[in-house]
């Protein structure tokens, strides 16, 4: 085949995707594209059932209408255009923070390259943040890389792990449902995705038995080397208990797997009982030998959490127990392409927000959470739709129990059943939600995925769903 990664991507994507049969080439984001189209049509005055398109298919809060935090944007504005510091229209802590941040940039400009690995002063602050979060477990600057979004670090570390010159190829155990770009990265690099199914009936829990089964299934197919975990779950909203995390760590150690832990939703945990605890903290508290041997990479980002700045591209990875020679190679890999200064600045602002006493404190709370119990009650009361409790993360992932008529109709028009549902929903109510097929799901189950932000979303979804079930029963 002519084109390397491209060929791998097509092949591997189809191999790893649980619904390979009917996916058309453009299917990566057809709903998204149609949503933009509808938005344009509305702008040009087209007559539709509703005057406004609502797109909650992505966990991107700003896209869904949530406003950015003033403090963050004010500091960035001053960093870009330091003249603004001269006026006192902006709060003192904004001006001070901008001054401090510009002091960490070469030439005092946000336009200069960041040092390889990240701005040292900000790396130090990341270390302090991690240590504070983990009740004193130390964090070391040489184990931290700040990158343009967690995804960049994720890809680079997978790059080191996936050895395409070996046979069989490197396998990566990945959750199902999962975060599609994570799986795509594995495939793009020539690795094999080995799905482990999260237990929907138990709130999308990660079961160790299932990890065992997945590992077994890889025998003779690939060489599993990596265990990819997302906590809080994306798109499931499950938050792992400490006990569960310990089990996973033990499993990784036993089976000699490198742990890659996506913790970008660590700030988005809604229930009191479901407190987020980091893999690193749990690992440290499990003591030697595990604490000294289990190799791990954990990821965080400014894209989610309470600042939700996806477009600014800021994130970091912390490595634990990684061989020093490998670290040196990782450093060289990371040094090839600088990360954006904006992302680094945003990271500082996220992990080091204004404190009590500062003029900008408290930050205007963004309601990013979707913990509206009422929504779950309503959905669970409707026929044909059910939803597990959402403990954290960015989405709700209700299950559709589609009547055979709907599934049949979907086949006739050449769409996957959940796509068909979402497509109808979009056309009839200008509400764009995501199809569960994108994230993966057990065979013959269907889901929708959305980032809830308002009563309007619930209203449109409910009225559509009731009608849809009537039409196809």
């Amino acid at each position: 085949d002519r084109h390397g990664a491209a060929a791998g991507l097509t092949q591997g994507w189809h191999l790893s995707h649980t619904t390979r049969q009917n996916i058309r080439n453009s299917e990566l984001a057809p709903l998204g594209m149609r949503a933009w189209q509808i938005k344009d049509e509305l702008r040009q005055g087209a007559r539709k059932p509703y005057k406004e398109l609502i797109d909650v298919s992505s966990a991107d809060p700003h896209r869904a209408g949530v406003k950015p935090l003033s403090f963050v944007r004010q500091v960035l504005a001053v960093c870009y255009y330091p003249q603004l510091a001269k006026s006192d229209k902006l709060p003192a802590d904004v001006r001070q923070r901008a001054q401090r941040l510009l002091g960490t940039c070469a030439g005092g400009s946000a336009g200069s390259y960041c040092p390889a690995g990240g701005i040292p002063e900000i790396i130090d602050i990341v270390c302090e943040f991690i240590s504070r979060r983990d009740d004193g477990v130390p964090s070391y600057p040489e184990n931290i890389f700040i990158t343009s979004g967690a995804q960049r670090a994720f890809v680079e570390i997978l790059n080191i792990l996936v050895n395409t010159l070996r046979s069989p190829i490197t396998g990566v155990l990945t959750p199902c449902p999962s975060y599609p770009p994570g799986n795509m990265a594995v495939v793009m690099l020539g690795g094999a995705v080995v799905p482990y199914y999260l237990d929907e009936e138990q709130g999308w829990e990660l079961k160790i038995d299932e990890l065992h089964r997945a590992l077994e299934s890889a025998k003779g197919v690939c060489d599993p080397t990596v265990l990819y975990v997302i906590n809080p779950g994306n798109p499931t909203g499950h938050v792992q208990s400490r006990k569960s995390i310990e089990e996973v760590i033990r499993f990784a150690s036993e089976k000699r797997l490198f742990l890659m832990v996506d913790e970008v939703y660590q700030d988005s945990v809604f229930e009191q009982e479901s407190r987020f605890v980091s893999y690193k903290k749990v690992l440290a508290e499990m003591g030697p030998p595990l604490s000294h041997t289990v190799e791990m990479a954990s990821f965080h980002s400014v894209s989610k959490g309470f600042i939700g700045e996806c477009g600014l591209r800021g994130g970091y990875v912390e490595l634990v127990n990684v061989d020093p020679s490998v670290m040196r190679n990782l450093y060289t890999l990371m040094s090839r392409d600088a990360s954006t200064t904006t992302g680094q600045l945003a990271l500082d602002l996220m992990i080091n927000p204004p404190q009590p006493g500062d003029p900008s404190y408290p930050l205007t709370a963004i309601t990013l959470h979707i913990s509206d119990l009422r929504v779950l009650e309503v959905l669970n009361s409707l026929p044909g739709i059910s939803c597990q409790p959402v403990k954290g993360g960015g989405y709700a992932l209700p299950r559709l129990h589609l009547p055979p008529g709907a599934i049949q109709k979907a086949k006739e028009v050449g769409m996957l059943p959940d796509y068909f549902y979402c497509s109808r929903l979009l056309e009839e109510t200008e509400l764009c939600v995501g199809a569960g097929s994108e994230n993966g799901q057990r065979e013959s189950t269907y889901h929708i995925r959305y980032r809830q932000s308002s009563d309007e979303v619930l209203r449109r979804l409910t009225s559509f769903h009731i009608q849809f079930m009537k039409d196809f029963s």
Binding site: D1, H3, G4, A5, A6, L9, T10, W13, A29, S58, D60, H62, R63, S70, L76, A77, V78, Y80, Y81, L84, S87, A106, G107, S109, G111, S112, Y113, P138, Y140, Q151, V155, N159, I160, L161, N163, R166, M184, M188, S291, S303, E309, G311, L312, R313, V320, N321, V322, D323, S325, M327, N329, T332, L333, S335, R336, D337, A338, S339, T340, T342
Partner: protein, 491 residues
């Protein structure tokens, strides 16, 4: 969990070791931020801690970072970025109307009207349209299709993506990629990472780093013995060499690419950095189309641009784009998938790029200041280019080609045999040995020529011409002094 405990465990027990990791990773080097820079950073730390040295600061002339060296950002660009970041400022009458209009237009195109929302992975559509218009204007009206524009995190991102798309095959069929020697080491690093075959073609130092098609032919013919040459990379204006290719040369290269069935990658990030009399930037696309449909409808090409260089120097914003020409539609579909894996380019970089391709017009309030600032930056660079060439050519043992464009000088240095031997004993490339000594004794950080590639037996260093003129003069004098001392010491 002690740090030692974390990182001092014997290698034998590790899941991930240098022996079982992706073997390509071991071969990746990137001299611009390599060991010499790491040593420079260490020295800076020592200076901060009060350690006494023969100098009070390290001059980092290793990386093409204009702002780090004191170049001021362009006011208009930063005003619009501030407005995009904190739109409340749209009510502030200290900002000119044209800046506000640009900001509003960009924000309209962003999800939720915020630069914090993800954009489409190919980049914000109206910005791609603006890039197309810019290219059309630059190239005398030759049409550009926004669908062929891919915004990227700096040009590096797009270059790496295109190489990734094209490297495939096994054994003798493995993709070969032709790169200039000397080259910007992103190319060699990317090829090492991808396991692509690097095919070197040498630029002619004696003719001011000219690109010779006979040399291209030699390289590709030899390469066909052991790989499948599919890509030809050109950097124009050159990095580190600074040469600006003549129009004739570009035509010859295009003809060669068509004959040998090669995909052209034209790295044109320095297109505004042209200083020498008689030199002019010609875009590959323009020349391609002016050669008529026999070429313009068949030759496959990608050209790259960035907001990191030229007069903007906004390296930290990671703005850039590539335009693809005559790409097979199926390949393009795969390219679209590939770029979606990294989600989207930084939106602030996209916004910045929009301003670069859509700068203030003569009838707009910011125009005068904008032109003044832009002219000043480019004029200063031109003067520094001239000064650098002049001073270096007064030093016996340093031979410096004219810096026709870009931001670097890549002089040839003559090293005494004794120095070469001592370097070899230490396991260092001779020019690395030279540069390390320069760093330790003078506090000047350059990158040795071995990091870029050079003809066997020759030695060079790459120095940026970015420090402010006064500092540059001092730096040039110090290098002159050092070279003479070095030559004497090892004679």
């Amino acid at each position: 969990m002690s740090q030692e405990g974390m990182n001092g465990v014997p290698h034998r027990g590790k899941v991930l070791t240098v022996d079982n990791m992706n073997p390509n990773v071991k071969r990746v080097e990137y001299a611009v931020r390599g060991p010499i820079v790491q040593r420079a950073v260490q020295i800076e730390k020592e200076l901060k801690e009060g350690v006494k040295k023969p100098f009070t600061e390290v001059i980092k002339a290793n990386i093409g970072d204009a702002h780090a060296m004191g170049q001021k950002p362009i006011t208009f660009l930063r005003q619009v970025l501030a407005l995009c970041s904190y739109p409340e400022l749209l009510n502030d009458n200290k900002f000119p109307e044209d800046a506000k209009n640009r900001a509003q237009r960009i924000l309209q195109a962003c999800g939720g009207h915020s630069i914090g929302a993800y954009s489409a992975s190919q980049g914000i559509e109206c910005i791609r349209q603006d890039v197309s218009r810019y290219i059309e204007k630059r190239d005398g009206g030759i049409p550009s299709n926004p669908d062929n524009i891919f915004l990227s995190a700096g040009a590096s991102d797009a270059i790496t993506t295109m190489l990734k798309l094209q490297v495939s095959g096994e054994g003798r069929n493995r993709t070969g990629v032709m790169i200039p020697i000397p080259q910007y080491p992103l190319y060699s690093a990317a090829l090492a990472d991808l396991g692509g075959i690097q095919i070197n073609y040498y630029l002619d130092e004696d003719r001011c780093w000219a690109l010779d098609v006979t040399e291209l032919r030699r390289a590709v013919t030899a390469a066909r013995q052991h790989c499948n040459p599919r890509v030809l990379c050109i950097i124009n204006p050159g990095n580190p060499t600074g040469q600006v290719q003549s129009r004739q040369c570009i035509e010859d290269v295009i003809r060669f690419a068509k004959e040998e069935h090669l995909f052209l990658m034209a790295d044109e990030v320095y297109q505004d950095n042209v200083y020498a009399e008689g030199c002019k930037f010609h875009s590959f696309k323009k020349v391609l189309f002016e050669m008529g449909p026999e070429y313009s409808s068949t030759v496959e090409m990608a050209s790259f641009h960035s907001t990191s260089k030229c007069y903007m120097g906004e390296c930290g914003f990671r703005g850039g784009y590539m335009e693809v020409i005559n790409l097979d539609p199926e390949v393009k579909a795969q390219l679209i998938k590939l770029v979606s894996v990294r989600l989207c380019p930084p939106v602030t970089g996209q916004a910045l790029l929009d301003l670069v391709v859509n700068p203030p017009q003569p009838d707009e309030p910011s125009y005068t200041t904008f032109i003044k600032e832009r002219t000043a930056v480019l004029a200063a660079l031109a003067e520094k280019a001239r000064l650098t060439e002049e001073v270096f050519n007064t030093v016996p043992g340093i031979r410096c080609n004219p810096v026709q464009g870009a931001m670097y000088t890549f002089p040839c240095i003559t090293l005494p045999q004794k120095a070469i031997s001592q370097a070899k004993e230490k396991g260092l490339a001779p020019d690395m040995f030279y540069c390390m000594k320069l760093l330790e004794e003078m506090g000047i950080c350059l990158v040795p020529g071995s990091g870029f590639g050079q003809r066997e037996g020759t030695h060079h260093f790459r120095m940026t011409i970015l420090p402010p003129t006064e500092k540059l003069k001092i730096m040039l004098d110090k290098i002159r002094e050092f070279h003479q001392k070095f030559t004497q010491e090892f004679s």
